[in-house]
């Protein structure tokens, strides 16, 4: 903070206010006045801050700034609510409902009649504090939850990506039926050919993530990087803050020793130096010249990328149609639709199939919007939650409407008298409407607070959800909060109001003298509301029941390996000093030998792929069987592992033998397969001794020497895959980065240090991250799936509570209204049990009607959840029986209290009071 810098007032507060003040320059001037006041306040604080900074502390200055922002919030809220009140009530209600109101001849400001109504409404709400508190909290909960979930829906699914004209950006993937229906990365040759042939796009770019070791600037560090083709950032509309995007010449082998750095890296490693351009960074031992610094917040392709280097495909890579490595994004030409581009690319794929048969046989192209491709599978869950909170809001509204109906009937006599004296309908209607509007707004404001808290919790609840960090309360969210407030007002305000209008004053007067205060119509409406509440609550209960059952099923699944006490870390050798081959194999062999000697380590191994972390799919053929057509080659999950891997990860050997130290490069080729593969491909014969060839490399068949258990590779729901293991030293493509797995009960911190020491004895500059536990990966996977279920359960619980409250309220009211009837019945000799039956039956009829309606509603709705469920169908009998049971039990409990009251009726007292 320095005094030259202009401080902006809190954005949310000014956005809020801007929506409340009248549109046009008049409103602008009001905002301006407030901002000027704020600027002045900050200037005063800057004076203070100057002094504080001299004394060596910044905290004082920040505190005063905080005070100024707090002040702004207070002013904005006070002003905003005033204007809002004026606008919502004055314009909406008065202009429309009372066109001939005497106020109209007066100035715009003359809303004396209204302010009387507001004062009257406020006073009556304040009188019934209990009612007001419950009604507002109910609404606040409904509105707050709706707003919070909507803000997630908005940020994740609706808000455009932060790129120039992002609706024209598409993601393009290779697809192949049936294994890769949803698309995988693109073969490098495909990208090159597409770019030359396709006419639908302004520009097409490719990228692939990788990592570099940065040396020569303090401790060696691993940086996450992305190789991008030239023009990618220009296509996205991202302008470097310093320097420029890569040129086509730099996207060629030999010219590619240039780098674009992220704003974060520029700050951390380059000290925000504006002379950073032209400096060099040593990446994997090669100097790279900095040609640009990107603006803060660039998260392409994901957040936390430190730098970008050119893709620079080699001539061989440009012709490679086999390895699918690249992610491709493109910008559609203006006016071209995704479907048109898809049609064109289908044609291109057919050309490629004809020109490069074999390797391209069966491969197609899938184009979808970039946003769509990023949020993909998370869509259903979010919309489901949004629907769920919508239901909670509806139930909350029904409840409040119910409460207002009671109040309206308490006021029945007053209204009847006023109507009898000639009050016009509008005059009868106004107070009730004003009151519900006030409740709605109060609930909306409180709901905003609830939403604010909820939004903070979202990233914790949904770790790993794309863009969840961007969630915040913004204009759109505020609009939803306010409109749900208004909607709620309309929903629960019109009902009592309509009742008030329809009431025949003479009835009211008659009833009034009889000491009862409610017509049959009103009770019918209340019952209808309760039935609706019960039905909605049942839908939520059913949905959450399914989710809970599905999660339970998932958690009982055995992943196939023992994640407890299994620790992993990634070892990435620098490209500059290592080449894939025997040298690399030696390194990993020595590392495992070294780590095995650490006290407390029971087993250790290395692997290129690991369950829940990284996978690799390859095709394979079996010796002696007819060669399948190229597009029908079966695929396996492929694992290159060291001999200690199976023990380290806790994967049991079922038959045959495991790999040993002797299965090296020069020994005969061997593989181990899993049970599913043995069952599927060798159903009637012993797989041991058979020979298969996994397509990664030239055709040499290797002998199957053992069978191990199945591993759930990409999640607990990922079962039934065929899997093949090879000794890592025998695999043809050796990789420079491998995962180290070890099994130990020792302290992970000490273990990490020991592992790092062993690895750096062999390779001094090798960065080694701390060990992470494999259980954590599995738990993390579960917890991501858990969040929507947990939230849904919470909403269902709220719905259940609100519905029970509704039943209670209606029954209590009904009992109170029938005290006389019960008294007479009892005086005439009715048993207490008869009374119990009477009341209980009424309550249960309401509940079961609601349950039946709810079941009918739940049926199509839960069907939509099908894709999110594991091991449970939407027609799960346990859920379909249990949910109504829970609801009926809750209803019975809710009836109990009014029931007791009914049985305590003393006929003498009741009859005497008449």
């Amino acid at each position: 903070m320095n005094s030259g810098k202009e401080h902006k007032p809190p954005r949310l507060a000014s956005a809020l206010l801007a929506r409340c003040v009248p549109p046009g320059p008049g409103g602008e001037a009001i905002l301006g006045d407030l901002q000027e006041g704020f600027t002045e306040l900050v200037k005063e604080t800057d004076g203070v801050e100057e002094k504080v900074r001299d004394s060596g502390s910044d905290a004082g200055g920040r505190a005063v700034l905080r005070k100024a922002r707090f002040w702004y919030w207070g002013q904005a809220l006070a002003l905003g609510s005033r204007f809002l009140l004026r606008r919502v009530l004055h314009v909406r209600l008065y202009r429309r409902l009372a066109p001939s109101s005497p106020h109209d001849g007066r100035s715009r400001m003359g809303f004396i009649g209204l302010s009387i109504d507001v004062k009257f409404g406020l006073r009556s709400l304040l009188r019934d504090r209990g009612f007001t508190a419950i009604a507002m909290l109910t609404l606040a909960l409904g509105i707050g939850a709706t707003t919070a979930i909507f803000s997630a829906v908005n940020a994740v699914l609706l808000r455009p990506l932060p790129y120039h004209e992002s609706h024209r950006l598409v993601s393009i993937r290779d697809i192949k039926s049936p294994q890769y229906l949803f698309g995988i990365q693109v073969a490098m040759g495909h990208f090159v050919e597409w770019r030359e042939r396709a006419r639908s796009f302004d520009h097409m770019a490719a990228y692939v993530s990788r990592r570099y070791t940065l040396t020569g600037r303090g401790e060696p560090r691993r940086l996450s990087a992305t190789n991008v083709s030239a023009g990618l950032f220009t296509m996205l509309g991202i302008q470097p803050t310093l320097g420029r995007d890569f040129t086509p010449a730099e996207d060629q082998p030999g010219g590619d020793d240039v780098v674009l750095v992220s704003h974060g890296l520029w700050q951390r490693q380059l000290g925000e130096d504006s002379d950073a351009l032209g400096q060099t960074l040593m990446l994997d031992g090669r100097p790279h010249t900095i040609v640009g610094v990107l603006p803060p917040g660039v998260d392409f392709p994901e957040s936390d990328v430190d730098l970008w280097t050119p893709l620079a495909l080699t001539p061989e890579q440009r012709q490679a149609h086999g390895n699918h490595l690249l992610w491709v994004v493109a910008r559609l030409k203006p006016g071209v639709t995704t479907a048109q581009a898809q049609t064109e690319m289908d044609g291109v794929a057919q050309q490629l199939e004809a020109e490069f048969p074999g390797v391209n046989t069966g491969w197609g192209v899938r184009i979808e919007g970039l946003l769509e491709s990023r949020v993909g599978g998370r869509k259903v869950g979010l919309w489901m939650l949004f629907a769920a909170v919508g239901f909670v809001l509806l139930i909350a509204c029904a409840n409040v409407a119910n409460m207002l109906l009671v109040r309206a009937s308490d006021r029945g006599r007053e209204l009847a008298v006023r109507a009898a004296m000639g009050a016009r309908p509008i005059q009868l209607l106004r107070p009730a409407f004003t009151e519900s509007a006030l409740l709605g707004m109060g609930g909306g404001l409180l709901g905003l607070a609830v939403a604010g808290a909820g939004v903070k919790a979202l990233p914790i609840l949904f770790p790993g959800l794309p863009r969840i960090q961007e969630v915040g309360l913004d204009g759109a969210t505020l609009a939803v909060a306010l409109s749900s407030g208004v909607l709620a007002t309309l929903l629960f305000g019109t009902m009592p109001a309509a009742q008030a209008l329809r009431a025949d004053p003479t009835d009211g007067l008659k009833e009034a003298t009889r000491g009862s205060s409610s017509g049959p119509g009103r009770l019918k409406l209340r019952r209808l509301l309760v039935v609706a509440e019960v039905a909605l609550a049942l839908v939520l209960l059913t949905g959450s029941g399914l989710m809970v059952r599905s999660l339970r099923m998932l958690q009982e699944v055995d992943p196939g390996f023992k994640s407890e006490n299994a620790w992993v870390t990634q070892l990435e050798l620098p490209e500059a000093s290592y080449a894939p081959g025997p040298q690399t194999a030696d390194f990993f062999r020595h590392v495992t030998q070294g780590v095995a000697q650490i006290p407390g380590v029971e087993a250790v191994g290395v692997a290129f792929t690991l369950p829940f972390i990284r996978d690799q799919h390859l095709g394979f053929v079996i010796e002696g069987r007819p060669m399948p057509r190229p597009d029908q080659i079966p695929t396996v999950l492929y694992y290159a592992v060291s001999h200690g891997y199976f023990r380290a990860i806790g994967l049991p050997l079922i038959r045959g033998r495991s790999f040993t130290e002797a299965d090296r490069e020069d020994a005969p080729g061997v593989v181990i397969i899993n049970q599913t593969m043995a069952r599927r491909f060798f159903p009637d014969q012993d797989p041991i001794g058979q020979r298969i060839h996994v397509s990664n490399g030239p055709g040499n068949f290797r002998e199957i020497i053992g069978v191990v258990g199945d591993v759930r590779q990409n999640g607990l729901d990922d079962g039934g895959r065929q899997q093949v293991y090879e000794p890592f030293s025998q695999q043809v493509y050796q990789d420079l980065d491998m995962w180290l797995v070890l099994r130990s009960e020792s302290d992970p911190i000490a273990l990490s240090a020991a592992v790092r020491e062993r690895a750096q004895e062999l390779e001094g500059d090798l960065p080694v991250a701390d060990l992470t536990s494999l259980s954590e990966k599995v738990d993390g996977w579960v917890s991501i799936r858990r969040a929507p279920g947990d939230l849904l359960t919470f909403f269902a619980a709220v719905a259940l509570f609100l519905a029970a409250l509704g039943i209670y309220g209606t029954m209590a009211y009904s009992v109170a209204r029938r005290t006389r009837e019960v008294g007479i019945r009892m005086a005439l000799g009715a048993d207490r049990s008869d009374v119990v039956k009477l009341v209980f039956r009424e309550g249960m009829i309401l509940t079961t009607t609601g349950v039946v309606v709810g079941q009918v509603m739940a049926f199509p709705l839960t069907r939509l959840m099908g894709g999110m469920l594991f091991g449970v169908t939407p027609a799960d009998p346990a859920t379909l029986v249990l949910s109504p049971l829970i609801l009926v039990t809750a209803a019975a409990l809710a009836i109990l209290i009014p029931l007791r009251r009914a049985t305590r009726v003393d006929p003498n007292v009741t009859l005497r009071s008449e």
Binding site: E6, K8, P9, S14, P25, G26, E28, A29, I30, L31, G32, D33, L34, Q35, E36, G37, T39, Q75, A78, L79, R82, F83, R106, S107, R108, M109, G110
Partner: protein, 109 residues
């Protein structure tokens, strides 16, 4: 005299402040003037309501200035008192004078 022509106390104060401020009479300054001279702290909402009301009665008119820095590019709304407003003030002053005449002992000089 129609009721609308009577000025409330706050209305009078606001009009006087506007007259004193001459060309610099916009919302924030009026607030300051009221605070400094009349020791009267008035909420923004109340002030804007009064200004709107006065404008509705034709007692003040407003114009918008150019957007200025320090205000996020928002214009100022400058107010000035119309002859009708001056007349209303004069009436109020006369009423005050004639009613307070001879009360010097109680009200002080």
């Amino acid at each position: 005299m129609p009721k609308g022509k009577h000025l409330g106390e706050l209305e009078q104060m606001v009009l006087l402040a506007i007259l004193r401020l001459e060309d610099e009479a916009y919302g924030l300054n009026v607030m300051r003037e009221l605070k400094e001279r009349a020791k009267r702290e008035v909420s923004r909402g109340a002030l804007y309501a009064v200004l709107d009301r006065l404008e509705g009665k034709g007692i003040v008119v407003s114009r918008f200035g150019d957007p200025t820095p320090g205000r996020g590019g928002k214009p100022r709304r400058y107010m000035s008192v119309t002859p009708l407003g001056v007349e209303a003030l004069q009436r109020a002053r006369m009423a005050w004078h004639s009613l307070s005449e001879g009360l010097g002992e109680i009200l002080g000089r």
